[in-house]
């Protein structure tokens, strides 16, 4: 049990009171009133929070006792972490706000407890959504539920009902309702034009939404009979009141299968001013015409261009080697055929024909067609004209990829970057979305570097090829097997002799061919920091050339990336060779073009490349780092911070089944590498000039 005065001394120390004149007496007195275990807990957390920011730590000390009184420890912990995340993301003022508004955090927590959280359920909900027919829709968070016809926006937490299951169901039903809006053509009705003529557009829209919701619910009922039962139950839970008589009559009309959104619009036109809009249920969302219009206009243009270019590509593919005109000189014509399909909302399926013959279409094209049909109801005839030579600009229909260099020319932002977390050892927790990682490509230099290297090490290259060839997958004949392709004559003769002697005969009389498969995928992660300038860079590049020669011989799958950074905002991975790229002139040029860049932040590179490795289907996955020193970057990624983050990233990689290994030329490496890679997973090469000789050999030993 600590006294108030000893607590005050401890807090003074942590919060550097000497320089800041904070009054620690008040928090110390309140903490002194806690149980000893809680005292230790709070002081420990004050220290962790203060490592991020002293003022934040002080505020934590002031509010911790109150927090423990109204929340359990898990919640207090997530409150502190949330404040630190807010600090990382938005700065001190919003973080202090989180500390001060403890009550609202506690309320939100409770809400999350009975509620359903979109972030947690996203995987399931997205799977459900993609199972439904029509366009591939996306999910995103927003304050209200609505759709722009490409994305369904949902609130981050659903807590209208009393338990998580019902709230999850509410998500599901909301998704179905918004999906129905896109699938059953709510936005195909000329709404915008109509609204312009109305003197009370909001009221009109409300009425249309109410009519449309009734129509859509009938559509859902026909398509998903199980869901409609769940919707009915939800409505009761949400306090459904009986439908007024005048609405019942409309309901009967709107539930007919042949009713379209245009009919609902006409009905709204007839009844506007005479009928008050029926308030929508929360799951029916709102109609955001502005969002829809922008999205649809952009998509129509894009998909038309994409479809016409696709037709052209298909035409070229099919007619490869043939003339596009037949004997009469007429050009081949695309056309469409509509096949009745009562199951689909449009009532038909569309087939694309080339000269009257049906064409097999790849899945992406099928998806494109269904997306166009969802918008327009059919494929218009002018879509069937393949794109001409001038209309081939991919920028028309492809989503623009951010150029990693361009992002940096203007103000800094994280657009288009992969965000990775980073381990803060003082906080004992991750900093979320901390490193902005971008993949760039090394600019190839086409000189004769590779040839020179091969010449210089010609003896070694021959030797390596021989060794690696011997390691290739080979069928070996296993002898004395109990089952196999052929009789093992030696074993049989022995066995017969044994039986003559009266001994028991062995049953291992066969030979079998056995293939040992290597099935290895390896990534080489090459240090491109400024410190590699000169000899080290030369040695790294030479090592890579020899390594590629060896790996091509043995046939293992491999990729090469360089890494460099300057602060967390600018973490760069330089692509030299992807897994599926052949070892060609381009790759050779890139190896030759490796240039020293900035600093050595390692955590992000390990995390990103682990992700790349995990997508590869291989029995053994290896991540080999070629480095010249300890982790280090311009911001506070120095000393223990950098080492602990790197260590954490390596632990994560190992947990994913990746074998990390490090080859370094840093003679100080024995001080920190065992802590990072373990005692056996690194090699220290004393002499830079020996690196090219050693690397292939190390790889051989590692995978033999």
């Amino acid at each position: 049990m600590l006294s108030a005065s000893s607590l005050e001394i401890r807090l003074d120390e942590i919060l550097e009171v000497e320089f800041s004149f904070r009054n620690t007496a008040i928090p110390a007195t309140s903490i002194a009133g806690l149980q000893p275990a809680d005292q230790v807990y709070v002081v420990n957390w004050v220290q962790r929070v203060a490592s991020t920011n002293i003022e934040l730590g002080y505020q934590y000390a002031c509010h911790a006792v109150e927090a423990l009184a109204i929340m359990d420890r898990d919640m207090v912990e997530s409150w502190a972490l949330y404040a630190m995340d807010t600090y990382d993301r938005e700065g001190l003022r919003p973080a202090l706000e989180v500390m001060r508004r403890l009550d609202s955090f506690a309320d939100t927590c409770r809400e999350r407890r009975v509620g359903s959280v979109l972030e947690e359920q996203q995987g399931i909900l997205l799977g459900f959504l993609h199972g439904l027919s029509g366009r591939r829709l996306k999910l995103a968070e927003a304050a209200q539920s609505y759709t722009d016809t490409e994305t369904l926006f949902l609130p981050p937490v659903m807590a209208l009902l009393g338990n998580p299951d019902d709230n999850f169901l509410l998500y599901k039903v909301t998704i179905a309702a918004l999906w129905a809006q896109t699938r059953y053509g709510t936005f195909r009705a000329p709404l915008a034009a109509e609204l312009e003529q109305q003197c009370e557009p909001d009221r009109f829209l409300g009425l249309f939404h109410a009519f449309e919701s009734i129509r859509l619910e009938a559509c859902i009922g026909r398509e998903l009979p199980g869901l409609i039962r769940q919707i009915k139950r939800l409505k009761r839970e949400l306090g459904e009141s009986e439908l007024p008589q005048v609405w019942v009559q409309h309901q009967e009309f709107l539930q007919r299968p042949d009713i379209r959104s245009e009919d609902a619009l006409a009905l709204a036109r007839d009844w506007t001013g005479k009928l008050a809009p029926y308030p929508p249920f929360p799951y029916q969302g709102i109609l955001r015409l502005d969002a829809v219009e922008a999205c649809v206009a952009e998509r129509l243009a894009r998909e038309k261009a994409k479809f016409r270019v696709t037709l052209r590509l298909l035409e070229e593919e099919l007619l490869e080697g043939q003339r596009p005109e037949d004997e009469n000189g007429t050009k081949k014509q695309f056309s469409k055929r509509e096949i009745p399909a009562p199951d689909l909302p449009e009532g038909m399926r569309t087939e694309i024909l080339l000269d009257g013959k049906p064409m097999p279409l790849p899945v992406e094209v099928e998806n494109l067609i269904s997306s166009i049909i969802v918008d327009l109801g059919n494929i218009p005839d002018d879509y069937l004209e393949p794109a001409g030579p001038g209309e081939y600009d991919p920028a028309l229909f492809q989503e623009q990829q951010e150029d990693p260099d361009d992002v940096w020319s203007g103000v800094y932002h994280e657009q288009g970057a992969h965000l990775y977390r980073e381990w803060d050892f003082q906080r004992q927790h991750y900093r979320k979305n901390w490193c902005a990682v971008r993949e760039k490509t090394v600019v190839p230099v086409y000189d004769n570097f590779v040839e020179q290297t091969l010449d210089r090490y010609s003896g070694l290259v021959k030797h390596l090829r021989k060794i690696f060839e011997a390691m290739r997958d080979e069928e070996r004949r296993l002898k004395r097997q109990s089952d196999g392709d052929d009789v093992d004559i030696d074993a049989l003769v022995e066995a017969l002799a044994d039986t003559r002697d009266g001994r028991e005969m062995s049953d291992r009389l066969f030979t079998r061919m056995h293939r040992t498969e290597r099935n290895i995928a390896v990534i080489f992660m090459v240090d491109m920091s400024g410190s590699t300038k000169g000899w080290i860079n030369q040695a790294e590049r030479e090592s890579l050339v020899l390594l590629c020669e060896s790996l091509e011989t043995i046939g293992d799958r491999y990729a090469i990336y360089g890494f460099s950074s300057i602060t967390r905002k600018r973490c760069e991975l330089y692509h030299i060779k992807h897994f599926d790229e052949p070892y060609d002139v381009e790759v050779k040029g890139r190896i030759s073009g490796i240039q020293p860049q900035d600093y050595t932040r390692m955590g992000f590179a390990i995390r990103h490349l682990s992700r790349v490795l995990n997508e590869i289907d291989a029995r053994t996955r290896i991540l080999i780092t070629l480095s010249d020193g300890k982790p280090d970057d311009y911001d506070n990624y120095r000393g223990q911070y950098g080492i602990e983050d790197t260590r954490r990233a390596l632990i994560e990689a190992r947990r994913d089944g990746i074998h990390p290994y490090c080859i370094t030329i840093d003679d100080q490496a024995r001080d920190y590498l065992p802590h990072l890679y373990g005692p056996a997973a690194f090699t220290l090469v004393d002499d830079v000039k020996m690196l090219p000789l050693k690397v292939s050999d190390i790889y051989r030993r590692l995978t033999a």
Partner: protein, 270 residues
């Protein structure tokens, strides 16, 4: 009771198997058979390739020898090998040799799964030579005109490493199978499992939903076979949502999120 034990080359399909043609596959197969051409059946799992073979064996009145290939299947597993019996070695025919001798239909299921050396064995049988060389016996067996070789292959999910080589695929007449269109699939499910037309319709709708998920979480959508399984469970009184969970969702994936998503889809239908 005593189960019936048959030799491989004595397996005659006695009763007409239920098979609904989806195109002109029966005519093509018959024409190929008459002209001594080997056949390649392409298509996703559970869409009726094996059932089609049984049907054709019944129609052509030939014994059917099916070999399910796996990654340890070697050429001698197909052709035959010497075994040691009482101090002597005796030759034992493999299923392919038995099929050639009996003039039956040999169906190699999922051929790409087998080891590469098996392809070499079937090559001489699959062109106009129609012989099976047996190296270890020093003999060539000429296939009688009734013999037919057919293989199946699922281009969907095997890795690129296991793609069918051009030298193999260009010897075969290919028949493409896909899931039947929804009306036909409905009648198949209803007929095979005994559920009513409405339930069969919902099952087919459910299958289409899972096929929409192919590539975004599922490797393959629900096959007609799985629908028949689910239908059988429903017909014997199991709650449809549970039947879909057991017979379809669990068969498709182990990923808990995907399972939950597929179950949400089935509970939306039934």
């Amino acid at each position: 009771m005593q189960p019936r034990v048959l030799k491989l080359d004595e397996y005659w399909v006695e009763r007409e198997p239920y098979y609904q043609p989806t195109g002109d596959e029966i005519e093509i197969f018959q024409a190929g058979y008459r002209n001594h051409l080997p056949l390649l059946l392409k298509g996703p799992t559970g869409c009726g390739k094996t059932r089609f073979m049984e049907y054709m064996a019944w129609r052509l009145k030939r014994p059917l020898i099916t070999v399910s290939c796996h990654d340890d299947l070697t050429a001698s597993d197909l052709v035959g090998r010497y075994l040691v019996k009482g101090g002597e070695t005796t030759w034992v025919d493999g299923p392919l040799t038995q099929a050639v001798r009996a003039g039956g239909i040999c169906y190699l299921d999922e051929i790409v799964e087998a080891r590469k050396d098996t392809m070499v064995v079937i090559h001489p049988l699959a062109d106009d030579r129609r012989v099976l060389p047996i190296e270890k016996l020093g003999a060539l067996i000429e296939a009688p005109s009734e013999f037919c070789l057919s293989i199946s292959y699922n281009p969907g999910y095997q890795s690129v490493l296991k793609d069918l080589k051009q030298s193999t695929r260009q010897r075969f007449v290919a028949l493409e199978f896909d899931y039947p269109d929804s009306e036909l699939e409905k009648s198949i499910v209803s007929r095979e499992s005994g559920v009513d037309a409405e339930t069969a319709g919902l099952l087919v709708k459910f299958a289409v939903m899972t096929r929409n998920l192919k590539g975004s979480g599922l490797e393959e959508g629900a096959s007609t076979r799985l629908l028949v399984h689910a239908g059988k469970l429903i017909a014997s009184g199991v709650n449809p949502v549970s039947a879909c969970r057991g017979a379809v969702a669990q068969a498709l994936t182990d990923d808990p999120e995907m399972l939950a998503a597929v179950n949400e889809l089935s509970s939306s239908l039934f």
